[in-house]
Structures are given as structure tokens and as C-alpha cells.
């Protein structure tokens, strides 16, 4: 299980935007080309197959978190020292209790 959990699955925010845009462009393009081709040969099934090919291509290109989509990771704040972190966490729990 450790091995499976270590596989990176996340993208950074810009990567997500690129992936979604790319997938939409690919699927729309394949759908349009499929429609034109299907109309030319008068076979709607060909349109559906070409759209399916577009789906597979888009899935391969944009579902796995390729390095392309992880170029700009967020700069998280460094973890604080142990004593400090204990005090802040206790503070936050107190605040939460008051709110409730």
C-alpha cells in the first residue's frame, strides 16, 4: 500500500487549468472533425468512433499528473518548531470551542 500511496496524483493549480482546457480542446476538435467526416461518408457511427478516440486521447493526456502539470507547485509555509506548533494548535482548539 505504501508503494501505491507514494504515486503522485496531484497537479498544481495552473496544471489543472491547463489540463482541463487541453481536454476540452481535444474533445471538441475530435467531435467536430468526426461530424464532418461522418457527414461526408453518411455514417454517424464513424462520428461516434472518432469522438471516442478523442476521449481516449484526452484521458491519456490530461488524467495522469504528467510533470507538465506540476511545474508551479505552491510554496507552502515552512513547518514551525515543535514547541510553537503545540501552542498554536492548542490555541486554535480553544478558539473553536468558543465558537461552538
Amino acid at each position: 500500500m505504501d508503494f501505491i500511496n507514494k504515486i503522485p496524483t496531484h497537479m498544481d493549480f495552473e496544471g489543472q487549468a491547463r489540463a482541463e482546457k487541453l481536454s476540452r480542446v481535444i474533445i471538441t476538435l475530435f467531435g467536430f472533425v468526426g461530424l464532418v467526416w461522418g457527414y461526408i461518408i453518411q455514417q454517424f457511427s464513424q462520428t461516434v468512433y472518432i469522438l471516442g478516440a478523442g476521449f481516449v486521447l484526452a484521458a491519456l493526456l490530461t488524467i495522469p499528473p504528467w510533470p507538465l502539470y506540476r511545474k508551479k507547485p505552491l510554496n507552502w509555509q515552512k513547518a514551525k518548531g515543535e514547541t510553537e506548533s503545540v501552542s498554536t494548535s492548542s490555541d486554535s482548539t480553544k478558539k473553536n470551542k468558543k465558537k461552538n
Binding site: 496524483t9 496531484h10 497537479m11 489543472q16 489540463a19 482541463e20 481536454s23 476540452r24 474533445i27 471538441t28 467531435g31 468526426g34 461530424l35 461522418g38 457527414y39 454517424f44 462520428t47 461516434v48 469522438l51 478523442g54 476521449f55 484526452a58 484521458a59 490530461t62 488524467i63 495522469p64 499528473p65
Partner: protein
Amino acid sequence: MHSILQRGNAILAYTLSVLACLTFVCFASTVLLNYRTHADLNTVKVVVKNVPDYSASREKNDLGFLTFDLHTDLSHLFNWNLFLYLTAEYETANNKLNQVVLWDKIILRGENAVLDFKNMNTKYYFWDDGNGLKGNNNITLTLSWNIIPNAGLLPNIFAHGSHSFQFPVDYTTSRMVRLN
């Protein structure tokens, strides 16, 4: 952060939306086509018998036998598939309008759609629900078809052209009627 499953779901949903749009375009490109054409019909041999209808009342009803010629070219009508049926229409004392389907045929896309049948037997019995066939002098045969589309409506189209004939005034009594 979008997980792998969320990304996959988004792509699949978008693909299906695009497919729905494409299907609508396919429907829109065919909805205004004219699916009527000519069909030449003719009857060759026509007899009528008076026999018990065991499938209904067991009373003696009129049963018509006929063979027909059919010539038509439907090859330009295809959307996906075609379903043809031949109907006999007539009026009797009991009913203003009687319609009996005598024959039908499925033509799949890619099959030969230039039909030239000679002396065809009917596929279904031509029963009247009484004695309305003997001597009836106005029976009209019409060919109709269902366009089975890829997407869209399922229209019932009547062919241009029909054929009217009359049944003999006497019953045929021989047990076996050889039509061909």
C-alpha cells in the same frame, strides 16, 4: 485540488455533452428530408374463401388470398434502416375503414433496396371480421414505410401510388388454393 477521479469524471461528462450535441446536429440534418417516393403495385391472382376463423370467433369469415407485384426503388430513403409494410384498405357494411397488413419487410442499411417482386405471396392472413370481402369491388393496396433513423423522429410514410382491385363474387371452395 482535483483528484484523478474528478478529472476523469469531468472529461467523460464533457464527451457525453459533445455527443449529445453531435446527435442533435445529425437529427437536424435529416428532419426536413422528403421520404416519399413512388411504388408500383399490382395484384396477380385474387380469390376469396369462406372458412371458420379458429383464431377468433370460430364463425365462418371471409379469408382473402392474393399475390402481388411490387416494383419500387427505396435506395435514396435510407437514414439507418427501413421497415416496409403493405396494407389493404377497404370499406364494409360493418366498418367504415378496415386496414389489414398483408406483408412486411425489413431492409437493413447496405442491403439491396431496389425491389422488384413478381407474384409474391402475402405474409399474413387477409381475414375479414365478417363477410366483407366477397364481391367487394374496392380494396386498395398501399405500401408504407417506417424510416428508422439514427437520431430523431420515426415517421410513417405512405408511398405515392396505390392499386385497387376487387374480390370475386363467388367463394373458392377447393381445399387447396395454389397461388403460384
